[in-house]
Amino acid sequence: MPANAFNGHTDLGIGLRVPHYRHILEKKPVCGWFEIISENFMVDGGRPLEVLDSILEQYRVVQHGVSMYFGNADPLNRDHVKKLKRLVKRTNTPWLSDHLCWGSVDGRCSHDLLPMPYTMSVAKHTAQKIKQASDFLEVPICVENVSSYAEFTQNEMTEWEFLNEVVEHADCGILLDVNNIYVSSENHRFDPFEYLRAMPHHRVGQIHIAGHQRFEHVILDTHDHPVPDPVWDLYAEAIRLSGNTATLLEWDDRIPSFDEVHAEALKANRYLHEHA
């Protein structure tokens, strides 16, 4: 996929979260765009859709999903993708992202972003489902690398090799989460810069930045802190390699005021000016 599928959307965005609804609707702060969690708005009525419609009157919105589960052995969930398509029509999202992970089997759902086994056959299967989803939804798809805490004995390649295989076979974009790369690199002891250098940079349509929490033996992807320095360093390298890219700050827990989240996101500008 050429990078120009994402052109025109290279500024900073913020994840739209419930505690900020009132502030955004009343104060109408200047913000490049909002990323919404698709699933929160895949409902048939009520306040979520009313809020979304008000936001859409003022701002551009990009959809980010958490339950398409391209890596499931099961086929795509028809009910889910149909509802998703209705939302795509409503938001006019320029692209849509979801994770390179699995999450349910035999119809039982974990509601988690579970890590993939990195094998060629799994990469091809996953890529096929991304293609199916993109064809049906009629919108480009970016897959996001997840944070992981475990690796499978069946792995035949590294995570970045797997990601490359998937996106080449699916001909799709990448939502590069540099915090997730950092978290996984610490948990699995690899060089995060090697990961970044191995990316097909022309496919990076969006970047996520976020904070995490370090425990004694593991780092968890908690999205409840400002972006730490090592993640900013990776961000600087990512935009040096991929150029100016739509960037989004994720803050999902212990959410501070909108202004505080916004200020944290704006720090990315400094890097964009210096490195992109």
Binding site: D44, G46, H111, L220
Partner: protein, 288 residues
Amino acid sequence: MSTPSQLSTNADLRILQRNMAAALMQPLTRHDGLQSRTQVDFITPNDRLSGFQRLEIYARQYWFRLLDCLYDDYPALRVLLGEMRFHKLCRDYLAAHPSTSWTLRNLGSQLSAFITEPKARDVARVEWAQTLAFDEPQKKTLHIDDLLGADPSALRLGLQPCVIALRIDHAVDHFITAMKKTDADVRSGASQAMSQAPTRAAIIKAPRLKKEVLHLVIHRHENTLYFKRLTREAFLMLTALRDGLTLADAVELALAEADPTTDWPVQIRDWFAEWSQLGWFCKPSPQP
């Protein structure tokens, strides 16, 4: 089935995912750990954690996320049962009914049917109805003017999906209202907790849940949820219409055992005026 050492087909991937899901979704131990007999041969250890410990991170994450969702969706049930009993109920329920939906919104859909104790079951029914009333669709509303001149023996009306009518045996509406009031008092006293780690608010003392036969409607109006008590006759009429009876049949059913001294035609007109104003009616779904 043991996990294949190589994943060359989609069937192999499915076995791996089945085994991992089974490990995550089995109940945790009393100390929130992974059961010691769990097969973990498909996870590699690293220099800090064994395969078992790495899988345990995901198992705990699974249980805590789903429990958290039930805590959010069933605050009144939690107050009624108290922390220990509610927590045990949630764990037993999730072990018996793992999530089968892509959205956590549906997690409690089988909870009231799972509960055998009448008070708790009624509270769970009302809280599930609140979930539905919050985001079920509001279809194009029919107004009373749209109905004028229609033949009652042929007229059918639909009830909005976001309007849920329940017959229950306890005054759950008063219980929830009283609980919210106490809860608000507690919260406003600790309002600067924003920068602190999120902790579940301490459980409040349960208000009394009185035994009382209730014909209750849980509905959404201008995106706010309300309770509305109906008389037995009004409830029978509304639910008969919801279930597809014609207006004439619904009236007959509703008034079968009604007090003959009441002026029912006036009553019925008043109900319709009110329900129509609240936007409760829509076109009926096609008859099967």
